[in-house]
Amino acid sequence: MAFIKTISVREANSELRAIYGLIRSDMVGSTPFPVEWTTWNVMQVFSLRPQFLWAFERSFRHFMWDGELSRLAKEAIGVSVAQTNACHY
């Protein structure tokens, strides 16, 4: 999944599991998906530092859900940066 160790939902302690739960409710609201489905690899890679994972999740919310930019504009900028950085994730 990544070059460093990551902590899955099953292995997570209560603090990390709670953060994974909050990520799920941000992503899909009350839709009853398993937490595993919304704990994406790009989130899980921060799992060795749960506090940073939570800050990253909150930042993602700030950038992607708040503000005046349209969703199309956010996606266009995001894909442009990813393409330029040769990031296939």
Partner: protein
């Protein structure tokens, strides 16, 4: 975004059929990602003038630096997409898997606009000022205070920095190796000299004297950090193993990657915002000060063009 438009972006973002404001944002995104040292105040003004409002420009800058951060982390740490390994081995299957993932996101992930409540901009600025003092970095650069105009950007900068350097949220103690944090900053900023205040601040930092073994380890770490900043897509598992061999555990390796990616993103943020005029939510003239040829009428024309171009694009994509 439709699959077809995504494919255009994946080949060449600058070739995508877009409205003028979005085209300006995309052009700036590509330049600030690939060659931040070449971004000029004129480039910034062009995108700022094309934006519908100062806030919209700053929101776009926020998305640029957010993706600059996360794509470097994902590349450096080899994060794989959520598709089975056997599908990733064959390009058509990998594409199919990615499309299925995109469909899942579109159908189930709620991307409607949400208010994110939290501290006020002035509280964020005060917290960042305290953080700079605790790290012995000196005064907070003026361009950071300007971000008060875009609270999400300011909040994200504060939250990510605090989470990285303050390990104990209860006491707020600095938990990161400050010497390593600054050594990485100095290395990353060498390639972005136009982030002037951050470069000056890093250059003024006196690295503490260390043993020969520590010096070698720091050299290995900064070389790795430099690659995270400049060519993250070249990093491999073997490079991570080199860091492990130098006695870094995986959490420390994550710290190194995050530190390099954050310095890299912060430097780009300075490049994107330091040449803007002082902005105030009630002062729409701030925009005119930086773009004297852009008046309300041309903004309306731009809005119409934007709407027409997007409608045309939607029709084209529907067909």
């Amino acid at each position: 975004m439709s699959a077809r438009l995504t494919r255009i972006f994946e080949n060449d973002p600058l070739a995508a059929p877009l409205a003028p404001d979005l085209r300006a944002f995309v052009a700036l995104s590509v330049k600030v990602t690939a060659r931040p040292q070449e971004v000029t105040p004129e480039d910034v003004r062009a995108a700022f003038s094309a934006a519908m409002s100062p806030r919209q420009y700053l929101d776009a800058a926020g998305v640029m630096i957010a993706f600059n951060f996360i794509t470097r982390v994902a590349n450096a740490l080899g994060v794989e997409p959520e598709i089975p390994a056997w599908m990733r081995r064959f390009e058509p299957l990998r594409q199919l898997g990615l499309r299925a993932m995109a469909l899942f996101l579109r159908l189930f992930v709620n991307l409607d606009r949400k208010e994110v409540h939290g501290p006020t901009p002035s509280e964020h600025v005060a917290a960042l000022r305290t953080l700079f003092i605790d790290l012995r970095l000196g005064d907070l650069p003026g361009w950071v205070e300007r971000l008060s105009f875009a609270p999400p950007l300011l909040a994200a900068l504060r939250e990510l920095l605090e989470a990285l350097v303050r390990r104990d949220s209860a006491t707020g103690t600095i938990g990161i190796d400050t010497n390593r944090f600054m050594a990485i900053g100095q290395t990353v900023l060498q390639s972005i000299p136009n982030a002037e205040t951050l470069t000056r601040l890093a250059d003024n930092w006196q690295l503490a004297p260390r043993s020969e073994e520590d010096t070698k380890r720091t050299a290995l770490i900064t070389r790795f950090a430099n690659d995270v900043a400049l060519r993250s897509y070249t990093l491999t598992r073997e490079r991570i193993d080199e860091l492990r061999a130098a006695n870094l555990d995986d959490a420390e390796i994550l710290d190194v990657v995050v530190t390099a990616a954050l310095w890299s993103a912060a430097a780009r943020l300075e490049v994107l915002t330091s040449s803007l005029p002082a902005l105030d939510p009630s002062d729409e003239n701030a925009r005119a000060a930086v773009a004297p040829n852009t008046d309300r009428q041309s903004a309306e024309v731009a809005a119409t063009t934007d709407s027409q171009a997007q409608s045309a694009l939607r029709e084209e994509l529907t067909v």
